[in-house]
Every structure is written in C-alpha cells, then in structure tokens.
C-alpha cells in the first residue's frame, strides 16, 4: 500500500519568506509526527498529533514554527520568516495508534534550503 508521502521533496527559499511543508500519512494512521534532521543537531522531534490535536509541541524550536492537521489526515508544517538555521530535512512519520511501542513509518522528507 501507499506509504507516507511528503511534498515538496525539495524547497529552496530566501531568508525571511514563509514556507509550508505537507505530509500525507498512511491511510488510517491516527498518530502523526514531525522530525527535523540537520547536520548539527541530528534527528530531532518537533511535534506529535493524535487525530487533529497536538498533545506534544515541545520540539518546535520557536514561535515561527507551527503545524496543523485536518480531517485526521494531512498535516502542514509552516515556518514563518525562515532563517538560514532552518535549513534541514523535515521528516514526517505516522503510526496506526499513539501507543509508544508502535512502529513509526517515515516519509522521504522535504529538503529545505534557506538562502
């Protein structure tokens, strides 16, 4: 079946612009996660959704970052006023339930470059 998909696969933007990154989870998966992978910081958790609500936003690095999920499916991560340090690969994952022992299935990521 279809896996987690993310769009765009690559995004180049200028410092100060806003960007939106999209994630389509596996159909039926109720939990959705965003992570960031960067050279300096490795793989970091950003935010977790259960259905349309976000019980854990503890990883969002600043108030420039926000995310939403609608219809218990698609999620959008928005970065406002991008900075060069936002350059990274943004990974989305989904799992069938929110149980912590569940496997998280990852998408291919969106590579963001802020010039």
């Amino acid at each position: 079946g279809a896996g987690v998909s993310q769009s765009p696969s690559n995004k180049v933007t200028e410092k100060g612009k806003d960007v939106e990154l999209r994630c389509d989870p596996i159909s039926g998966h109720t939990a959705l996660y965003w992570y960031r992978q960067s050279l300096g910081q490795g793989l970091e958790f950003l935010i977790y959704f259960q259905g349309n609500s976000a019980p854990d936003k503890s990883g969002l690095p600043s108030d420039r970052f926000s995310a939403e999920r609608t219809g218990g499916s698609v999620s959008t991560l928005t970065i406002q006023r991008t900075q060069q340090e936002d350059s990274a690969v943004y990974l989305c994952a989904s799992s069938p339930t929110s149980a912590i022992q569940e496997t998280q299935y990852f998408g291919p990521g969106t590579r963001l470059l802020v010039l």
Partner: protein, 114 residues
C-alpha cells in the same frame, strides 16, 4: 529524560565481513528500543525493535540486536554485510514518561567496501 549515544559515527567494513553498531541509552524509566536504517535520499525504515521478552531481536535483511538492561545497550549486528547495506543507521528509544516521540542517537554511517 532519555538519551541515546551511538559510539561510532562511521564504520567502514568489507563486503561479507561482520559488523556491529553500538548503541547505549539512558533513561530513568522503562524504554522501548528501535533501530532504523536510512538509505541515501530516503526516509527511515524500521530494521527491528525491542518491546519485551527475549533480549535477542531479529529484524529484516539479516540484522539482529541484543538488549542488555544492565549495560543499557542495544547493539546491532549482522554476520555478513553486502554492498547494499551501505546506509546510515539510527538507534532510538521511546518511553512512556516522554510521550510518544522517538529520541534518536546521532547515527552511524556504514560504508561497505568491495
């Protein structure tokens, strides 16, 4: 809070040789342990996970890992590697007290040489 340390950032290995990737974790509560693999320009794929029971866990592509509670380790092994095993490998933990997120180690890049 939990943390994960992968002791080797890079491991070069010859084809058909064995490989071991080391992972140590720290947590004040019980954890679940995972190994993921990331091939170039792709997302992460689960290799195996330890939830409970037998401490030796077998995964896909001939990989296995052993959970050692006393040493807080979860090392990954493969007895004979292939060129196609060239990738980056990540150890991760999840714990009830930390919510549902995965905490990852820094990754180990494996380069299989012919």
């Amino acid at each position: 809070a939990q943390s994960v340390t992968q002791l080797d950032s890079q491991v070069p290995v010859f084809e058909e040789a064995p490989v071991e990737l080391r992972c140590n974790y720290s947590s004040s509560v019980s954890v679940y342990l995972f190994w993921y693999v990331q091939y170039p320009n792709q997302g992460l794929q689960l290799l195996l996970k330890y939830l409970s029971g037998s401490t030796l866990v077998k995964g896909i592509n001939g990989f296995e890992a052993e959970f050692n509670k006393s040493q807080t380790s979860f090392h990954l092994r493969k007895p004979s590697v292939h060129i196609s095993d060239t990738a980056e490998y990540f150890c991760a933990v999840s714990a009830a007290a930390a919510g549902n997120k995965l905490t990852f180690g820094g990754g180990t890049r494996v380069l299989v040489k012919p």
